[in-house]
């Protein structure tokens, strides 16, 4: 079982939200940087700049949440690791809880 610090994407600061989007983008298949930005723009209508994207990728790699796949191409595809899936599940559950409480309070307002 991974420790709490390892799985805590929230402490990525301004890279926290991009990191979640990247993990979601990689959840179904490995992708390289350009494909990730396209997928994120199409799915979430969010534009990740290259500096932000690679700042988040470096943090995710350093935690072992994603890994680069060797490629003859100069573009390295990235794949989500088991640890990354675990971290994403935890983060999505936390966001879901926030959304549930928010919706509940709005409904009772």
């Amino acid at each position: 079982m991974a420790n709490e610090v390892e799985l805590d994407i929230a402490d990525f600061g301004r890279f926290s939200e991009p990191a979640v989007l990247i993990l979601i983008s990689l959840a179904d298949s490995p992708k390289h940087g350009y494909a990730m930005t396209q997928d994120i723009a199409r799915t979430f209508d969010a534009q990740l700049g290259p500096g932000t994207l690679y700042g988040a990728i470096a943090r995710l790699e350093a935690r072992g949440l994603i890994s680069a796949i060797d490629s003859p191409d100069r573009r390295n595809p990235y794949a989500i690791s088991d640890l990354g899936k675990q971290a994403l599940r935890l983060r999505l559950a936390a966001l879901e809880a926030v959304a549930r409480v928010g919706q509940g309070r709005l409904a009772s307002a």
């Binding site: 390892e6 805590d8 700049g49 290259p50 932000t52 994207l53 690679y54 700042g55 943090r59």
Partner: protein
């Protein structure tokens, strides 16, 4: 466009440069893109430890010195005190963490004492009141030489720490001046 890539540290360029260049070339140069890349380059310089991928991933499973403090919901205090070693645990030894904590705690206590004496001597002085913030900011900034700035050269550390201290002191003095108006 390659100018922006050159802003990144050499090891960062070796690792991500080609991918980053391809992504940059795929879009038109806009002010937002320029700001994003400059901020990204600054971040890369401030976090050289991120490229020690394997070591950090392994080290993440190793309990750090302050795990009882950083676990659970009390992480904010630990972060504020610079105790958390999550992002640079491989490069920062227990001695460095101890030094950082000592600089933070003893430095803050000492400067808070000096500030209280100054308050006693000049009870209604807006500048003295505003400079009270430096009792925490000063030691914290200095302590980064043992943690996030540890891998930087002495000159870079001196410039970063000196300019941060000068800027924060300037802001405090400005706040005092505004209060006096």
């Amino acid at each position: 466009m390659s100018l922006f890539i050159r802003l990144y540290p050499a090891n960062w360029r070796r690792r991500y440069g080609a991918e980053l260049a391809e992504l940059i070339d795929a879009q038109p140069l806009t002010p937002q893109l320029a700001v994003d890349l400059i901020a990204g380059a600054l971040d890369a310089h401030l976090h050289p430890e991120l490229l020690n991928t394997a070591g950090l991933a392994d080290a993440a499973a190793t309990p750090c010195l302050v795990t009882p403090i950083t676990n659970g919901a009390s992480t904010m205090l630990a972060k504020a005190l610079n105790l958390r070693c999550g992002e640079y645990r491989e490069l920062v030894s227990p001695d460095d963490r101890r030094l950082s904590t000592q600089v933070n705690l003893y430095g803050s206590l000492f400067l808070a004492g000096v500030w209280l004496i100054a308050l006693k001597l000049f009870p209604h002085n807006a500048y003295v009141l505003a400079l009270g913030t430096m009792a925490y900011v000063g030691p914290f900034t200095l302590s980064t030489m043992f943690t996030s700035l540890k891998t930087r050269s002495p000159e870079t550390r001196a410039i970063l720490i000196g300019s941060t201290l000068a800027a924060t002191t300037g802001i405090c003095v400005l706040a005092g001046y505004i209060s006096e108006l």
